[in-house]
Symmetry: C2
Subunit: 286 residues, 2 copies
């Protein structure tokens, strides 16, 4: 999904947010904002938004010398998500569900509300609301039965993660997949609140399935920049489960793979491409 005209003001907003999250030093903030806007001014309209945002973050990292400014926030959201996860386990939501696989998909999609790039000013109550609403709302797209069928027909499932916190909600779905066939993918390095190996270990995802990283630290999956070992895993997979907007933005141009996208359509550009309403719960394939 190429950058849209609508993305431009959103990326400029992110330039400010990246600067303010990276440092409290005003001079550094202004330098990051200016460098990021210059980067935006040099973009190629055939690029995806995550490619441009990656270069903005590189400026912030270079100027501040801090590689992972969101580390504390990621830990905090892993904690918050863990509390909600425990409550769902205690209350036996999946055991009681008429269709546990559908319930697991809904929870995995609900967790995708945890996204620090889309300007939602998220609080813990928004996550609880996303989870509760996911039980009531129609899921836009092909339906969980289509994914379940694809899972049954697959030998090699690549599950591409999105954010810290959210990955705890992925556990519900991972537990409902043939785990020996699943490889779970996190980022190769920190970028905003995207999940890394550290998060996969601390949240226990590594106890459930094989976890690899993609060898790159941009949001989404910019295939050309990922490690050769990830590219090989991607190539081998006969089913890809892709979580979140940035993975959709960077993978939706690939049409020769069987990819299911699970996400909340938080921004209007993504919603418009998918054909759903903004904030919809989406489970779709191309």
């Amino acid at each position: 999904m190429k950058i849209s005209r609508e993305c431009i003001s959103c990326l400029a907003r992110q330039a400010v947010e990246i600067a303010e999250e990276a440092t409290s030093n005003i001079t550094m903030q202004e330098e990051i904002i200016k460098r990021s806007l210059q980067e935006l001014g040099k973009m190629d309209f055939n690029e995806t938004a995550p490619e441009i945002v990656f270069r903005m973050h590189q400026h912030a990292k270079k100027i501040t010398g801090i590689n992972d400014p969101y580390k504390g926030l990621k830990e905090q959201y892993n904690e918050i998500a863990k509390e909600i996860y425990d409550r769902i386990i205690d209350e036996k939501w999946l055991d009681k569900a008429e269709d546990p696989f559908d319930m697991a998909c809904r929870l995995a999609i609900a967790g995708n509300i945890i996204d620090f790039s889309v300007g939602l000013n998220l609080g813990p109550s928004d996550i609880v609301k996303s989870v509760e609403d996911s039980m009531k709302h129609d899921i836009f797209g092909v339906g969980s039965a289509a994914l379940q069928k694809a899972v049954k027909e697959s030998e090699n499932i690549l599950y591409i993660a999105d954010n810290a916190g959210e990955i705890i909600f992925d556990k519900f779905l991972l537990e409902n997949l043939p785990r020996h066939k699943v490889t779970y993918v996190v980022k190769g390095g920190p970028i905003v609140n995207d999940a890394t190996m550290e998060d996969a270990i601390s949240t226990g995802v590594t106890n459930l399935v094989k976890v690899i990283d993609n060898g790159y630290s941009a949001q989404g999956t910019i295939l050309k920049d990922c490690s050769s070992s990830f590219k090989e895993a991607f190539s081998k997979a006969d089913l890809i489960i892709s979580k979140g907007q940035a993975n959709f933005e960077t993978l939706s141009g690939i049409r020769d793979k069987n990819i299911f996208y699970l996400l909340r359509a938080k921004c209007s550009s993504v919603a418009s491409i998918i054909g759903c309403k903004q904030m919809d719960y989406v489970l779709t394939s191309y």
Copy 2:
């Protein structure tokens, strides 16, 4: 009023709007957007937003070769405003008003809704609504009586106009001022829908008061770039009536002049500096 962090995404949005208003040629649009974003990336945080926007428009003018892309829209809004003006005259709103000066101020402020830079997607019905609401709403600030007192005590009134269309609503207030003391100021050249001498002539403002231009074609009043004859008029004035946001943004740093600002606070940054709510009707002085 220096550019705020909030202004940055708004200016990026304007970069896209400037490009799309300037030409339908996609390649040219992309070039304008990129040049404008690069301009944004080179900004000085001590500048005002109209200074940056001026340079963006210069790129658009240079790339397209079109000096006044908003000409047709300005004429259209002068027509729309004229219809509403005639209705107010026919219905004798000012004759019937308990306080005609206050009513004239309200109408002049209401007309400031006609602004193509703030992303309001304005239609004719919004102008009628702005006029009708101006009768009901409290006016934020010092009140029309304070302006009326200042007018009585002044010998040399400079009335700095804002937009085409809006200038027709200024006529209500001009007719309630000692017209021989008033000099009305339009822009020295076209920029978005700002009023120029052509608009002052076509709307009959030139029949009411002396009209001069400021010798520059940026939004607002960037004093250092205006003509020496305008600067002289500005210096001589003992009362300045400033219309609209951009004039507020560019003049509010000047504290040794008696300036009254009449505007609708359409953007949150301006509202925050003034201390009012967004979309408030404002008549204030510093």
